[in-house]
Amino acid sequence: MVNRNCRATLRLLTLINRQGHPHPPLSSSPSGIDACWKQLQRNNVHGEHKIVSFFSPLASSLKTRQWGVKIQSRCYGSASVLVQRNPKFSKLNDEDVRYFEGILGAKNVIQDDEKLITANTDWMRKYKGSSKLLLQPRTTDQVSEILKYCNFRCLAVVPQGGNTGLVGGSVPVFDEVVVSLSAMSKIISFDKVSGILVCEAGCILENIISFLDSEGFIMPLDLGAKGSCQIGGNVSTNAGGLRLLRYGSLHGNVLGIEAVLADGTVLDMLKTLRKDNTGYDLKHLFIGSEGSLGIVTKVSILTPPKLSSVNVAFLACKDYSSCQKLLQEARRKLGEILSAFEFLDSNAMNLVLNHLEGARNPLPTSLHNFYVLIETTGSDESSDKQKLEAFLLGSMENELISDGALAQDINQASSFWLLREGIPEALMRAGAVYKYDLSIPVEKMYNLVEEMRSRLGNDANVVGYGHLGDGNLHLNVSTPQYDDKILSQIEPFVYEWTSKHHGSISAEHGLGLMKANKIFYSKSPETVKVMTSIKKLLDPNHILNPYKVLPCSSIS
C-alpha cells in the first residue's frame, strides 16, 4: 500500500501498537465502578492494599470489582490505622453552601454526585472520602476568602490538584471540603532570558511542558502522571520523577511561591530571584508539606533550556555491585550530560516482558541479573554520542556491563523507556502488589530486596527497580492474591529495615494518609515535635488536610 504521508502513518501505527498501555487513562472512571466502590468503603482506613488500578483500570472492571470487595472488607491487623473523625470539625450546612456561592458563584460550588465521586476517590481507587462539597476558586482572593470562612467555621479542607497522589493525601478521609485548584490554570509570565516561569498552581504539568517546548525550554521535572498532575500538586508533594538526577529537586528549582494560610492570610513569596537571603526562606515549608500548611496558589520556577541531543542506552549488568560501579563511573565520565540512571532487576524485566504488550527485550540472547537505563542530554549530538559510546565500550571492557544496546532513534529510545516506565502497569496485571517507595544509601539498597526475597520464599515475587541515581528504590511485592500473612511478613519489617539503615520510608510520594503514623521511622521525635509546632502556628484549628502527614497522636 502506498502511504502518502508515511510520517503520520508511522505515528499512528505506533499509537495503535501501544494501545492498552502504557499511558494511564488519568481521568475519572465510569461511575459504575465508582458507585460500587462507594458502597464498599465507609471511611475506614486500612494499611497497604492492593492497588486496584494503575495504568488501565477499566481493562478488567469485573476483576476490579472482585478485588474491591475483598480489599475493602478487610482490616489489616498490625498495619491498620483506624482514624476517627475529629469531632471539633463542624458539619457542612446549607448556609455554608450559600456563603461559598456568594464568593465563587453557584457554578463553582459543586454538589453534583458524579463530580464528587471523582473528587472523593484517589487515583488508585484505594482511598475514598465522603465530601459533599467541591469548591473551584479562580483567584487567590477567592481561596483566601474560602479558607478564612472555613477557619472561622472550623470546616476541614482538602486542597486538591490533579489527584494523582499515591499516598491518599489528595482525597478527603471523611466529609472535608475539597478545594480544587483546577480553575487556576493560567501561565502568568515567562522570561526567555532567565527561563523563569510564573504560573498559577492549577496548571497541568504537561501543558506547562508543551508551553515551554514552544519557547525552547523544558520543565526540570517530569513524571508519568504529567497529563493530570498540577504544578501546585507537584510542589506540595515535592515530586521527584525522572529528571531529578540532572536538575535537582523542586527545593532548588522553585524560586517563589504564593500561598494562602488557613486563616486566609496570603503569603506573597512569589520572587523570581535566584538569590535572596533575607530571613527565613519560608517557601520551603510549602514544598512537600502536602497541603497541610497552606494552599499553594502561584509558583515561580526556574526552567532549563531544551537541549537537542538525547541518547538512551539499555544495559545489562551481572550483579548489583556492577550497577553501582557503573553509576560512579557514569557520574565521572558522562558528567554534565548524564540525565537519568534507572535500574531494574531480572524479576522486574521478566514481569514487563510477560505482562506488557509491545515490550521487547533489546538484549534477548541471554537473561541478565540487572538492567540499567542511562540517558544523556546535551547540546552536541555527535560529541555526546561519541562520549557515551566511549564510556559504554570502556565499561564493557572493564566488565561492568555484560551487554547493552544504544538507541539509534527516538522510537528505540522510547521502547527502552517503556521497559522501565511500564513496570508499575506490568505489576498491576500480574496480580496483587504491595508497593514501597524508599530512599536507601545506594550501596545497601539491594540488600533489602534480597532479604525480602528470602523472608517471603516462593510465596511472592519480590521486584526491585527505581531511580538508582537518586538512591530511590521501588520495592514491590507481587502475589497472585492479597494475603494478610504476606503483609505481616513485609510490614513493619520494611520500615524497620529502612530506618535501621538511615533511609526514608517515603522517597518521593509523601506520607499522606497511608504513612502519617509511620513518620517516626524516618524522623526523630524532636523533629516531629517542631513540625507539629509549625503546623499549630500556621493552622491552629488543623483544618488543612487533617489526618495526613503528621501522626494523629501528635496533633490532637
Binding site: 547493552g404 539509534q408 532513534d409
Partner: protein
C-alpha cells in the same frame, strides 16, 4: 551473493516538523536525525538473508553530507559488512540517487538491491522503481515477505497492494523495496557498535560516479497543513442543531 542496501538519513519520525519562516523548507538545525524507518527494515531483511546463509555480504550505501556517516555507522552497527558514502552537499532527488546506485552496481556487482519503499521526509516513493528501470532489473516493491531461493536464483516477494497481497517472482539480479510489516529491525548492541568501528567505509563523489547533480525541480514553497480547529462543547441537542444549521450550514 552480495546484497546492496540504500539507507537515508532523515528527520526522526517522532520529531514534530517545523516549517522555516521563509517557507523554503523545514527546519533541520538542532533536530534529531535518524535512519529512515523503511531503510532500517531493508537492512534488517538483508542481514537476515546473510545470517541464514543466503548471502555472503551486505553493503550499505548512503548519500548526502558528511553527517550521513552517522547513519552509515548505525547501519554497520546493525550488522552491514561494509559501507559506501557518496558525499554530496547538494539536494539529491530520486533520479540522482537512482543513477548513483546504478553506477555503484557496476562497481559492486550485487545480485540484489534492497531499499525502503520511500523516505519519510519527501515521501517520493520513486527511487527503487527508478533504479530497477535504469538497470532493467525486475522489481518487487512494497514487500511484506521475501523468500530467496539461492539455487534457482529467484526471489519471491509478497507485495502489499490496495486490494490485498500480490505475490511476484523475480529472477536475480533484482530490486526490492520494503513495506512496514516486512520485519522488526534489530537494535544496535554494544558489541556490534564496537565491531562496526573497524568496518571499512568507501567514499565517492557523484562526479566520480559520473552523475551530474542537476535538478529540473524547483521547490516553490513549503507550508504547514492547515490547523484543525478546536472543538466546542454544546450543551443541548437544540444548540447542536442550531450550530449545524446556522454556523456550519450543513443541514
Amino acid at each position: 551473493m552480495k546484497i546492496m542496501v540504500a539507507i537515508k538519513r532523515v528527520i526522526d519520525y517522532a520529531v514534530k516538523i517545523r516549517v522555516k519562516p521563509d517557507k523554503s523548507g523545514v527546519v533541520t538545525q538542532n533536530v534529531k536525525m535518524s535512519m529512515n524507518p523503511f531503510c532500517e527494515i531493508a537492512l534488517e531483511e538483508a542481514l537476515r538473508m546473510r545470517e541464514s546463509g543466503l548471502a555472503s555480504e551486505v553493503v550499505a550505501v548512503t548519500m548526502g553530507p558528511s553527517q550521513c556517516l552517522d547513519t552509515l555507522r548505525t547501519g554497520l552497527a546493525m550488522g552491514a559488512d561494509r559501507g559506501i558514502h557518496v558525499d554530496s552537499t547538494s539536494a539529491l532527488h530520486p533520479l540522482h540517487v537512482a543513477k548513483i546506485l546504478m553506477n555503484l552496481v557496476q562497481i559492486e556487482k550485487p545480485s540484489l538491491i534492497i531499499l525502503g519503499k520511500q523516505a519519510i521526509d519527501d515521501d517520493c516513493n520513486q527511487t527503487g522503481q527508478m533504479v530497477a528501470g535504469l538497470l532493467n532489473w525486475p522489481q518487487g516493491t512494497f514487500a511484506s515477505k521475501v523468500v530467496l531461493d539461492k539455487e534457482k536464483e529467484e526471489v519471491t516477494v509478497d507485495r502489499e497492494v490496495d486490494d490485498g497481497i500480490e505475490t511476484v517472482q523475480l529472477k536475480l539480479p533484482a530490486v526490492i523495496t520494503t513495506d512496514l510489516r516486512l520485519n522488526q529491525p534489530r537494535y544496535a548492541t554494544l558489541p556490534n557498535i564496537m565491531k562496526a568501528k573497524s568496518k571499512p567505509i568507501k567514499k565517492f563523489t557523484p562526479q566520480e560516479l559520473n552523475v551530474e547533480i542537476k535538478s529540473d525541480l524547483e521547490i516553490v514553497e513549503v507550508t504547514e497543513p492547515p490547523k484543525r480547529k478546536a472543538g466546542v462543547m454544546v450543551s443541548s441537542v437544540d444548540e447542536l442543531i442550531d450550530k449545524l444549521k446556522n454556523e456550519a450550514k450543513v443541514i
